[in-house]
């Protein structure tokens, strides 16, 4: 039985249309290439923010509006969600599909909480501090950078919920490991972008 399974695995690997001549999964390579290009996208936005930092001719300034405790909490949420994401992957590898679905749901919930925190932050900036996209260089560069990151997180949450839905309907098992791994790569990427944004935008005076 074990031999049969091993033979099946080898055959599966040989005939897997997703594996190319390099022996690498096309989908995973595609995701890494996309994440590399996204690095340059966010690099441009972060560079623009830094280039215009301190050059706004009208307020409010970052010091006036930033809520460091709230943002730190959001940063902790994303870091924790990265842990639950890898725990989901580990559970799927052991074919504990329901456990994996639970971790994926926890990851999505923390991501959603992060997005809601960001919505609250934006709402506060607009309504309490009068900072909008058109107020100043700070407003435009800040909202564009963090807004695009928030959009990435929102897309990730939807992707995770789709995986949870598949798991609940019995359409996800450990043969789909790479699908979940690719979603995980995307999710961890939004985490590392936030690691950069949190330090460069919020913490550095």
């Amino acid at each position: 039985m074990a031999d049969h399974a091993a033979t099946h695995d080898v055959t599966h690997a040989v005939h897997d249309p997703n594996i190319g001549n390099t022996g690498l999964d096309h989908r995973k390579m595609g995701m890494w290439a996309f994440l590399g290009s996204d690095c340059m996208f966010f690099g441009s936005l972060i560079g623009t923010y830094l280039a215009y930092k301190g050059k706004s001719i009208s307020g409010p300034t970052p010091h006036d509006v930033f809520d460091i405790p709230l943002t730190s909490y959001s940063a902790a949420l994303l870091l924790a969600s990265s842990l639950t994401m890898v725990l989901a992957l580990a559970a799927l590898q052991d074919n504990r599909v329901k456990v994996a679905a639970g971790w994926l749901l926890a990851t999505a919930a923390m991501g959603l909480h992060f997005v809601l925190n960001q919505v609250y932050e934006f709402w506060t900036f607009v309504h309490h501090h009068g900072l909008t996209l058109g107020t100043s260089l700070f407003g435009s560069t800040f909202f564009v950078l963090t807004g695009f990151h928030g959009a990435h997180v929102t897309g990730g949450v939807l992707w995770l919920l789709l995986l949870v839905s598949l798991a609940w309907r019995g359409k996800l098992d450990r043969r789909d490991y790479t699908k979940v791994e690719i979603a995980g790569l995307y999710w961890h990427f939004v985490d590392i972008v936030w690691i950069a944004i949190f330090t460069i935008i919020y913490l550095i005076p």
Binding site: D9, I19, K28, C39, G43, K55, Y177, T178, L185, H188
Partner: protein, 112 residues
């Protein structure tokens, strides 16, 4: 069938994987570093260049931990590493180039 998951995990181009214990250790390290980062802001008297460099170093360590262990890049195929690290280096170059264009440097007094 038990091998199937491993095969699925590795034939996509990776080598081994970190264990759950490693994941938890990494998460604890990330939490501690984040705590230190935020606490540093509230310590009075730290010179700005020291503060900026400390924050950037801690951020880089967190970045490495997530990419290396959670994204498995530490264990992954060199082609995957090149696909990510190459554009990442270009992204850093873009940030530095744009800052240079606008004479905007974190550690230096800003011209008005």
């Amino acid at each position: 069938m038990a091998d199937h998951g491993t095969a699925a995990a590795t034939h996509g181009g990776g080598g081994g994987h970190a264990t759950v214990k490693t994941y938890i250790q990494v998460a604890i390290a990330l939490a501690i570093i984040t705590g230190v980062e935020v606490a540093t802001l509230y310590v009075p008297g730290i010179p700005n260049p020291v503060l900026v460099i400390s924050l950037l170093v801690m951020s880089a360590v967190k970045f490495y931990l997530v990419v290396g262990f959670f994204m498995h890049l530490k264990y992954d195929h060199p082609i995957m590493r090149a696909l990510f690290v190459g554009p990442l280096a270009i992204a850093v170059a873009i940030i530095l180039a744009v800052m240079a264009l606008f004479s905007a440097f974190l550690l230096l007094p800003r011209p008005h």
